[in-house]
Amino acid sequence: MGWTKKILRVDLSNGSIKSEPLNMQWAKDYLGQRGLATKYFVEEVDPKVDPLAPENKLIMTTGPLTGTAASTGGRYSVVTKGALTNAIACSNSGGYFGAELKFAGWDMIIFEGKSAKPVYLSIEDDKVELRDASHLWGKTVFQTEETIKKSHQDPQTRVCSIGRAGENGVKYACIVNDLHRAAGRSGVGTVMGSKNLKAVAVRGTKGAGAIKDPKAFMAATKAAKKVLADNPVTGQGLPTYGTQVLMNVINEMGALPTRNHRDVQFEDARKISGEAMKEKRPTDGKTHLVTNAACFGCTIACGRISRIDETHFSVVNKPEYWGASGGLEYEAAWALGSANGVGDLEALQYANILCNEDGFDPISFGATVAAAMELYDLGILSKEQIGIEAPFGSAQALVTLAEMTAKGEGFGKELGLGSARMCAKYGRPELSMGVKGQEFPAYDSRGIQGMGLAYSTSNRGACHLRGYTVASEVLGIPVKTDPLVTEGKADLVKAFQDATAVFDSSGTCVFTTFAWSLADLQPQLDAACEGEWTMEGLATLGERIWNMERLFNNAAGFTAKDDDLPPRLKTEPAKTGPAKGLVNGIDKMRPEYYKVRGWTPEGVPTKETLARLGL
């Protein structure tokens, strides 16, 4: 069956915990994880709810392949209304927490209300209870995980938690599991903090059995693993260099946003690249990169584990940061580095560790620092206001601001607002580089046109993981398209968005799609899950999920005006590289996209579209 067919409903206001049967009709229409949890969410929550009100709910959810033998089947997601965006949020994480939740016998947990005091949820199979977390409040993610594991006397307990950022209301706080994997974007950790929920600790011993056709499933997962192993990207490229190999690629292509998108190429890109991470440092003769790492069940192993230079100014006399730790991944390296013009690899890793340690999204944080540095450059913010000189390129400013944000001190409180609120506060809202309140990731849409449309229409605000047309426009997966033109991008973006929604609902990782198509996922789902799972059905399911999220956002108050880019990307041409002289053609692509989607010119799904999708 894939699913355990049981969900937990936890009312934090009154402390009640209930087991409910999974709605199997919804499971057939929305699969699991992102799709299924969003279905529950939109059925139960008023779209206009304040994200930080007790009436907002927060759902932790697995997919039918989570915890199974499917490669990368360790994913879980957090669905809520995002604190950063006021839009539907779904943040996806790897590590081991998701599989453990499945092993304990639960498909998802729905958190409602707000606890009067800090609590954490303890799950040991069917034994589920809310426990006092007063002693954990004020603690970092690292401290929280360690403390809970010790008190449970079980090192195999898996923990997801918020750090001080989530407690302090940083708008882009994450929920971090297994020390350095995170449901990172849109402020899902902020919502968790608003509920006084510090952590979830789970230990499961039931396994993830009950597969519909075990023999067919083993054959399907084996074949799919061979596809990953034989593919040069997932078999060799990602394990060797990780996502960070993109730093030089995107820089050469003139699509690396630099200094708050003032530039599209960074002169120090190589210094913070995947190649640099594998070089021996002159100071200690060691490489920054220690090893690669895999999440539960993953046969790709793209993760990076690095060790910071002990002599670096950021960690001198701080031995607690000298050990091997997660990162750098491309997005964090870009946001903490190129976005701010900082070319100091060790400083980036230190800031990245702080993001993991106290649970805040390095993309939104780094991009907000970039906006602050531009405000400083323009004389709108002073050294006195920020607490430090903050010119573009200052590694000292970056690490100091990361420390301030982690602790909720000084100007860190302003940075914790995110770039949209911060820039609006200082009278320059146009300097926030994002969509729907969420900061852009690491691709400049003047050099990769399709990403402008993907960002603008992403249901959770600017995001690369909702429709990664970089795969096609840069890497030629599945087919190469020209990154500098707008033609054909409406169809391309829709195709990526719909397929991604299926992968995000399955329990597998979207990185499999560098090698897998839906045709590789479908046999695994069909063997695991009761019912009939066809290619056609899955394609429709992805489109159904996309439109369901869109309807929620429309009801929350979003309109076509919100499917737009900041003026800089529409009026200030790229200065260098292949895209020199180009702006993003969003105004041309958007109407085409609405048409391809079967939406009105105002961006509203038509009755015919909704009927076709069963919405």
Binding site: N231, P232, V233, T234, Q236, G237, L238, T240, Y241, G242, T243, Q244, V245, L246, N248, V249, E252, M253, G254, R270, G274, E275, E279, Y330, E331, H464, L465, Y468, A471, V474, L475, G476, I477, K480, D482, P483, V510, F511, F514, G577, P578
Partner: protein, 86 residues
């Protein structure tokens, strides 16, 4: 007259660069006039299955054009094996 170009190899392909060029992933090359992308690839004995993403001044050169694409003075030729990220 010869052509002077910048030649860059990244990821696992950087093993094919001389030691001093690995620090920057880049090498300045003086080429005979009319030298093509494919001829540079051959000169450095790059395994063809690793010659995946080929950019000249950041613009993609499709596989079919690599045999005939002549490098011009001042251009940058950059090559990657199959890679991806996110």
């Amino acid at each position: 007259m010869g052509q002077r170009i910048t030649f860059k190899l990244f990821a696992t392909l950087q093993d094919y660069l001389p030691a001093e060029a690995k620090k920057t992933n880049a090498l300045v090359l003086d080429l005979d006039e009319g030298t093509t992308v494919a001829q540079v690839v051959e000169r450095f004995a790059l395994p063809l299955k690793l010659v995946h993403l080929v950019l000249i001044d950041g613009n993609f050169v499709p596989p079919a054009e690599r045999i005939g694409r002549v490098l011009k003075d001042g251009e940058t030729l950059a090559i990657w094996p199959p890679v991806a990220g996110g």
